[in-house]
Structures are given as structure tokens and as C-alpha cells.
């Protein structure tokens, strides 16, 4: 059996300490009684209570979740379509431009994306608010979805789809009954990615929202610019906890699915 070498164990320990100690410190200080974030004055959950009674914070959280759910759902549909076009549609006029527009937002600085969308909305005289943030988030996250889904589509055996068509499926049925179940894991991770990107975005939301809609990152931003605040520490702790639970349970589900698939394959082999 392989063991850790001395060098590798050291570099991993230091590396993961670097990645995790800042977050642990943040979590520890969220339970600090003192308002001064630098002085430890004993354990308290005071700041969590403060946070949960802060109505504007709760409103912002609600706006953020709403934007994230709507935009990631639209982005998943559009991104899956775009992945199909890239992998399957073959040649058509403007293909180069299309794939350019799919990949460009992935590397575009957020300040540019935000600025350009804002100028568009102003040019069209659209009222800025939840809707405009949704449009902006959908646009950049559909590109991430399409990258994730197309990597799955490339490795997909197209003859399965053809078999379904031969057996009398309509193309839409073939997609629903054969293709979709196979690419589902990629579609789901695409949705999750789009959802997190939307939850996380500060810059593009700041450009494209109006006075009526404030997202959680915008709220956090306006309060941390003045310095560290214990309430934000509490909020961060809640968010870190949610993400950790989410990621771990997703990986457990994945693992279980892989095991089940393996078992089914073995059973099928034994039968034949």
C-alpha cells in the first residue's frame, strides 16, 4: 500500500491549512460576544439573533434566492440547447460566432459584462430590478452550463438515440426518454453551478440592479467596505455551513449512484 511521503504530507497539511484556517477563524469569531471583532469576549450567538431580526438582510437574501433559482433554471434550458447545437448541429452559418459567444463570457471580466448589460438596459429604457439581474445572470451562467453539458454530450453514444428513433420514438420522446436520463448528471451539475454563480455574484448584480432590488452580496459588500462586522461573520458561517452540507451530500449521492450502477452492470453481466 502507498503511504504519504514526508514531503507530500507536509505540503498537503500546509496547503489545506492555508485554504481552511481563514474560514475557521471567520466561523470562530462569529460566536464572539464582543462587537470588536478582534477581541475575544466569550461565546455568544448574539450576532445570529441580530442577523435573523435584520429585515433588510432577510429581504436581500430572498431576492438573491429568487434571482438564483429563476436564472439558473432558464440558464440550464438555454445552456443545454447551446451544448446540443455545439456538439450535434454540425455546420451552420455563424457557427464560429456562436461558439465564440459561448466561450467568451467565461473569461470576460465581470466589470465589462456588467457595464455592457447596464448600458443595454438603459438604452432600451428597461426598469432595473430583479428582472434585469435575472437576464444578466442567465446570460453568463448559460455558458457555464453549456460547457458542462457539452463535455457529457461528446462522450455520449449517439446510436442509443438512433435506436430509439428506429423503434418509433419522436425526436422529442427520444430526447426525453433516452438522452436526458443519460446527460442528467451533467445537467444537474450545470444547474448547481449556475445557481452558485448567481448566489455569489456581486459585480454584475451591482451594475444591473436598480434601487428596488438589493442582493445579498451587494448587502454584504456595502457593510464590509467599512470593515469587519460580527453580523457578516455570522452570515458567512451560515453560508459556509449550507455549502458544506450541500457539497458533501451531493458527493455521497454521486457515490451511491456509482455503486448502484456498478452493481446493476454486474447483475446484467451475470444474466447474459
Amino acid at each position: 500500500m502507498r503511504r504519504f511521503s514526508w514531503f507530500n504530507a507536509t505540503s498537503l497539511t500546509l496547503g489545506f491549512a492555508f485554504l481552511y484556517v481563514p474560514m475557521i477563524i471567520l466561523i470562530v469569531y462569529s460566536f464572539n460576544k464582543s462587537k470588536l471583532v478582534t477581541v475575544w469576549a466569550g461565546f455568544s450567538t448574539h450576532w445570529y439573533g441580530e442577523l435573523l431580526s435584520n429585515q433588510s438582510m432577510l429581504d436581500a437574501a430572498w431576492v438573491t434566492v429568487k434571482v438564483a433559482v429563476i436564472s439558473s433554471s432558464i440558464a440550464t434550458v438555454l445552456g443545454t440547447m447551446a451544448a446540443y447545437v455545439i456538439v450535434r448541429a454540425g455546420r451552420f452559418h455563424g457557427r464560429t460566432l456562436f461558439s465564440g459567444m459561448i466561450y467568451a463570457p467565461l473569461v470576460m471580466p465581470e466589470v465589462i459584462t456588467g457595464l455592457s448589460l447596464l448600458l443595454l438596459f438603459i438604452g432600451l429604457n428597461v426598469d432595473r430590478g430583479v428582472m434585469t439581474i435575472v437576464l444578466a445572470h442567465t446570460t453568463f451562467s448559460m455558458c457555464y452550463v453549456s460547457v458542462v453539458v457539452s463535455s457529457r454530450l461528446v462522450s455520449f453514444d449517439q446510436s442509443l438515440e438512433e435506436a430509439a428513433l428506429d423503434l418509433g420514438c419522436s425526436p422529442l420522446q427520444a430526447f426525453r426518454l433516452v438522452t436526458l436520463p443519460i446527460i442528467a448528471p451533467a445537467v444537474i451539475s450545470g444547474w448547481l453551478l449556475a445557481f452558485t454563480l448567481s448566489l455569489d455574484d456581486l459585480v454584475i448584480a451591482s451594475f444591473t440592479s436598480g434601487p428596488a432590488a438589493t442582493t445579498l452580496p451587494m448587502k454584504i459588500w456595502s457593510s464590509v467596505r467599512l470593515g469587519v462586522s460580527p453580523e457578516i461573520n455570522a452570515l458567512s458561517t451560515i453560508m459556509i455551513a449550507l455549502v458544506t452540507v450541500g457539497v458533501i451530500s451531493a458527493s455521497l449521492v454521486n457515490k451511491r449512484q456509482a455503486v448502484r450502477q456498478k452493481r446493476e452492470e454486474q447483475a446484467a453481466e451475470r444474466q447474459s
Partner: protein, 296 residues
């Protein structure tokens, strides 16, 4: 027909919300600042027909770009963004490589968990991860308290609001982007090559330089681009961790737009930033393409 609709829907969406906005940015970068709503001139008035169109195009000019070259602030900001991006890419590589190496050489049953530990921060809010360093690096922050307590220093270090804090912030937040591609290339490597090198008389260090390093080159290149490209336009990190002397173009653009409300200059700044980014983006795409061809 169905195929047509399938192409058309995402195509039109991207045209309307990605390409057209850029054309607008370019157009406004050729306009002049005005005390009006919207705060620039000329605005296109289609009611005036052809004459309106002609006078509209006549009033567009490259004045803002001339202004960008004349005011030292802007080109200094571009240069300093590039410099910060280069330095932090190198630092991220130095920190990330040993971690990726350790992961790839870890016992196999450990690897999925190590991988998850690298990916987990990526799902955590970027803003929060940057914010976490504010409390650590501040003058009365955790790091200074710790160093004073151990007696390593007698005066608190000034780290927050300097470029050093910006480097730390960038390395911290972009580290997974560097680790993952390097790990992928190291994990694929055939380790019997190392044994062969050692059998042939290489020391372990020279085996690393002659075998491992060249084989992980692709991962290093991909990781470096993934850190370098987004860092140039970075806004959150220099705003929270940097000081008044930290010049980065993303921040300049933001201030130009929100504080000075000079939309034409902000647009011109965006256009130039895009031009600067095109070179590394094309290099990166070409590199990825080459790698795909080599694998397929």
C-alpha cells in the same frame, strides 16, 4: 425546422444580451460626456431619419482614447494590473504545485476526499473568502495578535490595504484553479517513468526536473491562464484588501462609472481592457485546442 429553432433560441439570446451590449459599449466610448440623461452625447434620434444618422456619426470620435493615453492614471493602472496578475500567477503556481503534487502522490483512497477539499472552497462565496482575510490581516487582526503573542514581532505589521494583501487574496481565492489542472496532469502520469529514471542514475530531484516537470507542463500552463486572465480585471480583491496605492483597472472602471459617472471614459477603459485580454485568451484557446488534439 426543429433544428432551426434549437439553434435560433440560444443564438438570439446571446446576440441580444452579449454581443449587442458590446457594440453599445464601443459606441458610447466614442461619445462625449454630457450633463444629461443618459449622460453622454450624441444620442441617436431615429425620428430625424437619414440626417439624424449622419450627424450622429459625425459627432463620434476617439477623444476618450486620446484622453486615456494622456492621463497617466490609466496606463499606470493597466500596467499595474498586468504586473499584479503576473506576480500573483507565479505565487499561485508556487503554492499550488506542491499541493497538487502531494494530492497526485497520495494513497489512492485518499484522493477523492482531497479533491473534494480543494473544490469545496470554490463553491463557497468568493466575497466571503476575500472578506475572511480582512479580519486576519488588519492591524489588530488575528495574524498580528498571534505574531505579537509569540514575540516574533514587537510592532504590528501593516499588511491590510497594501499590495501584499492583494497578492494573498488572489492566491487564496484562485488556488483551486491552479491546483486542479496540475493535479489532473500529474495524476495521469505513468510513475514507472520515475523508477526508470532513478534506475538510470538520476537523483530524485533531477528525475523531478527531467520527467515530472515536463509532463505536468500542460497543467501548469492551463492553471496559469486560468489565474492570470480573470485577475487582470479583478475588482473585489483590490477594493477590499488593497490600499489607495493599489491601482487595478477593474477598480478604475468601477469608480469611473459609479463615482465619476463618466460613462464614455468607463466604456473606453472597458474596450482597451478587452483588447489587452484578447491576446492571452487566444493563446489559452489555442493551447487547449492543441491539448485536445494531442489527446484525441
Amino acid at each position: 425546422m426543429r433544428r432551426f429553432a434549437l439553434i435560433l433560441v440560444p443564438y438570439l439570446w446571446l446576440l441580444a444580451l452579449f454581443l449587442v451590449p458590446f457594440v453599445i459599449v464601443f459606441k458610447i466610448s466614442l461619445s462625449d460626456l454630457a450633463m444629461a440623461i443618459p449622460p453622454y452625447t450624441p444620442t441617436l434620434d431615429l425620428a430625424e431619419g437619414w440626417a439624424g444618422l449622419v450627424s450622429f456619426f459625425r459627432e463620434l470620435d476617439f477623444e476618450n482614447y486620446v484622453w486615456l493615453t494622456e492621463d497617466a492614471l490609466y496606463w499606470k493602472a493597466y500596467l499595474s494590473s498586468l504586473q499584479i496578475a503576473v506576480i500573483s500567477t507565479v505565487l499561485t503556481l508556487l503554492v499550488g504545485y506542491p499541493i497538487a503534487y502531494g494530492m497526485a502522490r497520495a494513497p489512492e483512497e485518499w484522493r477523492p476526499m482531497l479533491l473534494m477539499l480543494v473544490i469545496l472552497p470554490f463553491w463557497t462565496s468568493f466575497l466571503i473568502r476575500v472578506y475572511a482575510w480582512m479580519g486576519i490581516l488588519a492591524k489588530e487582526g488575528v495574524l498580528n495578535q498571534f505574531l505579537l503573542w509569540t514575540g516574533v514581532i514587537s510592532e504590528p505589521l501593516v499588511i491590510l490595504n497594501t499590495n501584499l494583501a492583494v497578492y494573498i487574496g488572489i492566491v487564496y481565492t484562485y488556488l483551486p484553479f491552479m491546483i486542479l489542472p496540475i493535479y489532473a496532469s500529474l495524476e495521469r502520469m505513468d510513475e514507472s517513468l520515475l523508477e526508470a529514471a532513478e534506475d538510470l542514475g538520476c537523483s530524485r530531484l533531477s528525475a523531478f526536473w527531467l520527467v515530472t516537470a515536463p509532463l505536468s507542463k500542460q497543467g501548469v500552463i492551463a492553471g496559469s491562464f486560468l489565474v492570470f486572465i480573470p485577475t487582470i480585471g479583478e475588482f473585489v480583491i483590490p477594493s477590499l484588501l488593497g490600499g489607495s496605492k493599489t491601482l487595478m483597472i477593474g477598480k478604475v472602471l468601477w469608480d469611473e462609472f459609479f463615482a465619476n459617472r463618466d460613462w464614455p471614459v468607463a466604456s473606453a477603459v472597458a474596450v482597451i481592457l478587452l483588447l489587452i485580454l484578447i491576446v492571452p485568451i487566444i493563446l489559452f484557446q489555442r493551447n487547449q485546442q492543441k491539448q485536445r488534439e494531442a489527446e484525441g
